[in-house]
Amino acid sequence: MKGKLILADQNTFEGDFFGAITNISGEVVFNTGMVGYVESLTDPSYYGQILVLTYPLVGNYGIPDTKYWESKKIQVKGVIVQNYIDTPSHFESQKTLSDWLKKDNIPGLFNIDTRFLVRKLRERGVMLGRIESGESGKGESYDPNKENVLPFVSVDKPQTFGEGKKHIILIDCGAKSNIIKSFLKRKVKITVVPWNFNPIKNNLNFDGVMISNGPGDPKQAKETIDTIRQLIDENVPTFGICLGSQLLGLAAGADTYKLKFGHRGQNQPVKDLISKKAIITSQNHGFAISSKTLSNNWQEWFINLNDGTNEGVRHVKKPFLSVQFHPEASPGPTDGGYLFDEFLTYL
């Protein structure tokens, strides 16, 4: 069945549906990873977005049970590919990508010149768009940056996992499961709390706080920023990932801004300005900290080697640190895994 992607600038791409046949809208973004569609589609950071995958064959290894899911459901609003593969082959595959999308009522389009689409997004910046079947009805496209979307992706109430000498609070702004798993692997007790939960005010006993990744414009998450400010004031070791990094930056008084088309992929090079080492990272973000707005006590920790944008900040003396990329990987390279170990040494 034919379907269309209509961008905010009225550019239209015609393709064929797979997954659910339904009309949706959201922010159109692209990811350049060559594997990892299961992880990406379930990553809450994509909430409200239509994801374009640049690798031209998608669906190759099917869908496993929940093993590699980064949350309990598909988070994207829709997915756009060049060629959809309906004949997967993998020992862990349980169903096809199309069947999986259907179950969650998520539409996909294939037979779209995804490279053309990406070049447009690269030149004009990410824009809103709609996936539609049949004649295009004009309508407002959903913009996930215009509201605080964290309530849609965060847990409702605190939940504790694992056992360990140290106890970490994970402020869930749409956390990927692998952040939790990364701590559990390191024998840490972890309590996942809602995005607007203040662990100090709630009198929890803990050693450090992790602020997770998540969707949307960081400035919308005012309550979380307030919480982080208090954590900093009370010298609580705090580690932010992705949105968590932006929130830590805002709490520290720096500014954030929207990137033209963001960084979404598994090949993003970053350099540690302190150790001078470089690693390849997995990234998924549309906003960044403006490093020139960092105050004196804060330093730029990582930068992106491609465009020089900020990839992490830290306090010059105290254990407040953050990275814009994903040390938990999944999808993507695992080079940054050591950062969890480093954070644990501050507890």
Binding site: P56, S89, D113, Q266, Q268, P269, L305
Partner: protein, 1064 residues
Amino acid sequence: MNKLRKVLVLGSGALKIGEAGEFDYSGSQALKALKEESVETVLINPNIATIQTSQSLADKVYFLPVNPFFVEKVIKKEKPDGIFLSFGGQTALNCGLSLAKSGILEKNHVKVLGTAAKTIEITEDRKLFAMELEKIGVLIPKGGFASSLNEVLEVIKNLQFPLLVRSGYSLGGLGSAVVYNQKELTQVVSKALKHAPQVAIEEYLKHWKEIEYEIVRDGEGNKITVCNMENLDPLGIHTGESIVVAPSQTLNNYQYHLLRQISLKVIEQLKIVGECNIQFALNPQSNEYRVIEVNARLSRSSALASKATGYPLAYVAAKIGLGYTLSELKNSVTKSTSAFFEPSLDYIVVKVPKWDLQKFVGASETIGSEMKSVGEVMAIGRSFPESLQKAIRSLGNGQDGLLGGKSKINVSSKKLLSPNTQRIFSVAGELAKGTSVDEIYNETGVDRWYLYQLLEIVNFEKRLKEKKLKLSKHNLLQAKKLGFSDNLIAQVFKKDEQDIRQLRKGWAILPKVKHIDTLAAEYPAKTNYLYLTYHGEESEQGESGKGERRKVIVLGSGPYRIGSSVEFDWCCVTAALSFKKKGWETIIINCNPETVSTDYDNADKLYFEELTLERVLDIYDLEGGKIVLSFGGQIPNNLAIPLYEKKVPILGTDPVSIDIAENRHKFSKLLDSLNISQPAWQELKNSEVAHAFSKKIGFPVMVRPSYVLSGSAMNVAYSVPELKRYLTQATQVSPKYPVVISKFIENAKEIEIDGVASNGELVIYAISEHIENAGVHSGDATLVLPPQRLFIETIRQVKNDARAIIKALDITGPFNIQFLAKDNKVMVIELNLRASRSFPFVSKVTKNNFVEIAVEAILGNRLDCVFNTLNLDYVGVKASQFSFNRIKGADPKLRVEMLSTGEVGCFGEDLHEAFLKAILSTGGKIPQKGVFVSIGGDKNKMEFLEAAQEISKLNLKIYATKNTSQLLKDHGIKNTRVFKISEGRSPSAIDLVSNNRVDLAINISIPGESASDQRDGYVIRRVCIDTGVPLLTNLQSATEFILAISCKKADELNIKCWDEYVAC
């Protein structure tokens, strides 16, 4: 970073199976990188046909063997402070390792740049490697090592058959095989131990996936994986023999990054500095893996990865060797982002090997853990079917896609599903027959994902043929997306290829241009590395439109194969650069990943595309300009007439003239009209006429099919039964076409003239003579330039004939004419209106760049210089490299059909010196112990007497078979008689060779030998090849070799670089 003053780069020598054009690419990139740093460069590489030995790349080039003996001498003379071992394949690595171990590098203060010698040693020695990986808990196949048959028993105690036997220090996996029982194990191990000090015996991981990663690490420990690749064929088939796909298709995120992380862990442990390749086995039913090996150097796979991703691995590795870190380097494609990144592909790459086994008598089409392929093609598309079908067409085997319109279905059988060169076609045939994917998977281990993809192609073609699909816009677009050619679609619908093309254009079904930009469009590319796809709407044609600048499209040479390899790449690259120098916009089309022409910085645009009429027309439609097809060998040359018919402007000689040269009838008529003699010949449609004609002109006669796609059945028949046999062979090769029979002139000399003409006038020429008499293919023969043993009269006649032909055909551009000379009489046997295989040789020996001159001629520029190519103060010799050791069972005897895989060209003060250097460069050795001599024919025996006497004088023992032994004795030459196999007595010739009593074998057979003599000859030749004893099978070259070693000692050979022979 300590600034280096002078760096020595080792090349890989002649192209051979397992070590081919990929090392011209890597060496050339390394030299470019060094040049940018203003480091003085010295290159040792006898491969005169390479681009790296061009004038513009290295400061000094030594056309000498890449072995410790010669390299040490060059080091002593040049006193470099650094040496690169990793750009010249296994040859350079082994040579460098030996120099490092013997302390020669240290003594001469030469630093190994990049990965340290110690690390190389670990990666090359399976035992050390296993120990190193065990330290970091990385798994390798279970098994052990053995240096003797006794140790084998110890190793296999805890293992079960089948087992895999591998040998260390191997080039392309020599001596590795799967064995199913004790007997096979013993056989394989005995053979392997003759070539290597130890073997590894391992669990055989049946049907595990084979995955490779290409990794770069800098001296500071920053590291990336540039590309991963998946072999379509499961483990057990050499990656050089396998269809390879990039990136991997069947790995999920976890597996992809698991193997990636292990790759990084391993190279960190090994402390690789530069580039390396790591191969994994992955269980298809779990996440279990094994590390198979690490190649601590640029390899075939890294060349492929470079082309597949656009990441210049060799260039970056060279910079790292000089001390740069990855983050200090820029991405060569975007020129703005960092070189420290991992390319993201938004297309799929398929590599398919190219074999030429049908040329070898006695070779089997089975493939396995040893390499046999002579080349490869790569195709880029946005679906697997699109890329695969493109790749298959690019092979130039006449197969028009996976099923190729032909009904292969009937000939297919399960047996053909075992690994062989045609397996992919058998699999397609089985699928077409309705065999299930599961069944084929169980038989082949080819992942079901690929089988489902093949099934899509097969089903579509079936539906086309069964007329279930109409010729509609939708179906045509589907067909093109699946990679079908216009020609195939035309056949199905009983139309002409051009009708489909017109229809397609009318429906606006056109391929779109896409960039390879390393970052999946995330950042703009500054280079024009392009491919075409039907999966897309937007064409990214780049800045230049039609007709803004003078534009030329240079057609490349396609896959390397016997008869066409790096020499044509040199011609194409040189031509493109020459046009560029003249202000033309240049475009290269080629599909071979082991070439320099497919580096995106040689031309303004590179289309990595198939060299078919359809695709060349597609590109011409997009780009316009003019086409030059005289530098890429026969593949582009064959497009001359079809392109001309489509009114595509072709530069150089008029295609009508090309047609005259290529058409035997027209060419013969031309020669007659010019009063130029030629051997009698006729084209014959049936065998009765063939026999009558042969009787008329008298035996021997040469038999060949008149139309040959690849691998022919060229033979010389000396008798009626032989004629009968060869006729059958020839008609089998191309049943539709008549057979050509020509008079074979015995004991004639062969002469070639390479040259350039302008509007029918000779501009420059070089005359070379063959060492071997006619009967050895010109591509296998040893060439001497300038000729040393030709009469002035002969030279004049050759020149005059050439002039007459050039005038008559109004040639503009390169040409090559082959002559026979006997008793002062000259006959023309062939004319090529294109650059020939010997163009780089004659260009480099005379230091007149024939290709540059040809480009000038093509552009209509007058060149008034007088070129001296005859009266030179030195001699250049081009010798052929054979790879018989790779092709089990093949008879290594030289014939009229070409068998060599590569060549070298060396200089000397006289013929003997140049010849000896050339032979040593192809792996020949100066005998120290004894020589085995077996010469058929009385005349041959007598001719060899002088050489035999020289062998005696050298104090080498002579062993000879019956008649040869007797004749030598009669002439007072001491020798020991050995027995032929058929004589059934010892010591036999085989004992002699297998016991290492001789280090040279001369075996000359004659036509019309008895069957038992033929068999004896074949066996002894084969034993020599299998045990590594140098073998000579041609009387003239054997004699020249003996004379050369009798007057030159190795130590007396001059160590002089190119410039010292030929001033600029």
